[in-house]
Amino acid sequence: MGDGKRRKVGKLESKTRSNIPTVQPSRVIGKAHRKIDAVAKVTGITKFADDLAFPRMLYCKLLRSTEPHATITRVDTSAAERLEGVIAVLTGKDLPIPFGILPVSQDEHALCLEKVRFIGDPVAAVAATSEETATAALDLIKVDYEPLRAIASAEDAVAHPEPRIHDYGDSGNLHKLIDLEFGDVAEGFAEADLVREDLFFFEGNTHLPMEQHAAAAVWSADGKLTLWSSTQTPHYVHRALAKVLELPPARIRVIATPNGGGFGGKSDPFSHEIAVAKLAMVTGRPVKITLTREEVFYCHRGRHPTLMWVKTGVKRDGAITGMHFRSLLDGGGYGSYGVASTYYTGALQTVTYQVPRYKFQGARAFTNKPPCGPKRGHGTPQPRFALEVHIDKIAEQLKLDPADLRLKTLVPPNSLTANYLRVGSMGLGACIEKVVEGSGWRKKFRKLPEGRGVGLACSSYISGAGLPIYWNNMPHSGVQLKCDRGGGVTVFCGSTEIGQGSDSVLAYVVAEVLGVDPFEIAVVTADTDLTPVDLGSYSSRVTLMTGNAALQAAERAREILALHTAKKLAVPADRLVFADGRVFDAQDPDRGMTFAEAVQLAEAAEGTIGTVGSYTPPRGAGAYRGAGVGPSPAYSYSACVAEVEVDPATGIVRVPTIWIAHDVGRCINAAAVIGQVEGSIYMGLGEALMEEMAYRGDLKVVHKIPSLLEYKSPTTLEMCDVVTYLIEDPDPNGPFGAKEVGQGPLLPVMPAIANAVYDAVGVRVDEIPVTPEKVLKALRKKGKGEEGRVGPSSFPDIPWPEPTHVPPPWDGGDGKAVLTPGASPGITVPARQR
């Protein structure tokens, strides 16, 4: 069907529902299925990275820094090397080439070279014949540190440009500074009936996958390296290994084992992966490492602690006239995905409610903590929390129901936002209506007895990023497909199964097109020797991108099979139906053959039957610096109502029920979609009420609670009931109309709960998590006649750069930056319903 071509041509605005690929009637897509790996998972057969063992295998342990910020003056490994059973010891000088996930942040070393940047930063690696010996050897390594003043928080980084944690970055200890302006926000505020400013803080939290990171490496004497790792991004690990180890990529094979949970925490190339690879090369023996739970906390790459300030102008009816958003992110010790995270704190404010003029200023600080990066929602849960609570406050001031205010200001489908994000299908209105009705919102909001309350919030998320992490023009996802004479089909794809069901998506899509049973499809994934590149399991990209690539490969295979089957049956090819393991004439179903016979026919005529498919997202509409973050082939939408019970004596917030409606475009596997929604609500509940990366409040910057017991996460006893509504508003860019579901439904949970707490007891906790201490503090303040609020009180002065001015589309802009604001002619306020 020339799917890839169709997506690239024409303006989105011209697209209509008729462009949505339809397979009628659907046999596989949209139904509830068992996942293709479900039996392996429930029988314990699935091999996770730590389940691997090899003959003569050595065990690796990493020595980690005990200083938050220090120069390394000496590392003495001689005593460790003398310990019986120790085969090799590595230090920074053995792996001097830097790496990092983003090309602009190549600031990590597998083992620290000249300085350490957080407690837990790896300094040395040991390979020994047993784990106990490797652990004992760590104690024998002597490291001398010359401590430097540590930077403990983002505000501390603003106040202390010296000593610099890194010798690069936009200013002192500020890693990244962004200033983007889309239209004249001052004019927007002047036009407004109400201008409101608010400050919010979102504490950092971590992924906490149940599986500790693990990796195993085997070096072959013919110069080939194989690495198995619990990584979400084998392609990027492949690139990092080639760079740091100075090996040709063709001699490196990276296999991502099924991840025992990822949530973004296994998306960076890590020290431990490089260390075991190098140790395998040095020793000529297989080497494995499994991190301790404490070390998983040091790997982190989780949610950035973020301070936010937002100022919005609105008309009496709630229409937004302008918005100015500032964020300050605490990035931790390294770059990681941080530049992208920073842009993401300002990108998606515009895709839910119409914002005609928008200004975003974002800053990311380096601090001496474990590095922050992408956690489920990547950079967008923090601003979404701020925005949705801010809107709740605006609605109250305007005496409008917050559901009605939102419904009136929705971004229309098939439109372009002020910051040049192309919105396609947009089902948020339907989502809001569903949760309002289902939760009994109209009967509950501001009407429940003291101590009980409801809160509403909405959100949107990307279905994959428009650009790859490193600049290139190649597809983001590739699939190869092989048809066997016996009727089996094998799908090869670089995508990584992290529990979200990506392997199954490939099988369902191919099964739908070729009319075979999904369980007769073999899926081979995440192996750089065997599978074409897929960029990885991040940014909710996998269903849309691998789904489209698989769709193209399967349609090409169907075309080949149809050609030869049509000849044999003397039926026009376009009349053939592929279903139930057969190929037959739609008008005479008895006239047909088995799928296997069709493959044999085609193979006799053409040779081996194999096809490929690939997917490249459409080009973004923006052409300004920073326009790369935010564009996506499709945006998912969610609306959420949370009901809470607040105990005024203890401050404890209980959440009996959350109602969530999610616009997924179209379900590929309905049961898996529900699972992703419920899992997102769960993780959002944890973030809302209890999860936080907490450090001692001194300059030692020690993580207080690096354990599963002390890092509070919801158990079965805290988890709420969830009522899920799926809204299917198919998007032309999604395979069968599908959009993302793995991350979006998490986003509205935190603001919905915070808004519900206000409804329940009349206090604002403008900080995540909403802990009992904060609720009590706010209640006490309220009791004393003060403002019943807990939250930040100021935003520090940041040396913002000169703003980049980009006129919005309705101001005659073309997506490019202009030198002076207002240079474009004909500045007009957009019509409300464009």
Binding site: V42, K47, P209, S713
Partner: protein, 174 residues
């Protein structure tokens, strides 16, 4: 480090007698995974905090990371590998698979065994009793709801009822 001399014990593993030799400091978790090659038992902390390494010791759920291998001499140990019999899945395994109660699958073996022990003791648990029975096991993927539903469905089937998943659990509320 000089290797400690191994000790040998006899025990029942998944219904079969087994003899295994290991260093005496090893936990049951390590003995299962490293010496008996039963890697279906997982670990999340090795400190007794997450429940991921749950196995049944004489029918009772235990955290195998906190039990010494030596202490299991003469006892019955059941792991996830012992749940499916004769190539047929246990009803809990069927319902976990069908409802998506296993996402990444890493905590799944532990939940299955904890649930089996729960249903043995209480064939008709309420939702609250299921929550309490599984409160020692952490799952980061599912939000537990599909796990509750899978336990309820398997419980009904084990009682001989012809139960099927609800439309809402598979497709959401309409």
């Amino acid at each position: 480090m000089p290797a400690e001399s191994k000790v040998k014990i006899a025990l029942d593993v998944n219904g079969e007698p087994a003899e295994v030799a290991f260093a005496p400091h090893k936990t049951l978790l390590e003995v299962l995974r490293e010496d008996l090659n039963l890697t279906g038992t997982k670990h999340g902390c090795e400190l007794g905090e997450c429940g991921t390494c749950t196995v049944l010791l004489d029918g009772t759920p235990v955290l195998s990371c906190l039990v010494l291998g030596l202490a299991c001499a003469g006892h019955r140990v059941k792991t996830v590998e012992g749940m499916a019999l004769g190539g047929r899945l246990h009803p809990l395994q069927e319902t976990f698979a069908d409802l998506g109660a296993a996402q990444c699958g890493y905590c799944t073996p532990a939940f299955l065994l904890a649930a089996e022990a729960l249903l043995t003791a209480n064939p008709k648990p309420t939702r609250q009793e299921i929550k309490e029975g599984l409160a020692g096991n952490l799952c980061r993927c599912t939000g537990y709801i599909k796990i509750y539903e899978a336990v309820e469905l398997a419980a009904a089937r084990l009682r001989g009822e012809a139960a099927e998943p609800t439309q809402e659990s598979l497709y959401g509320r309409r």
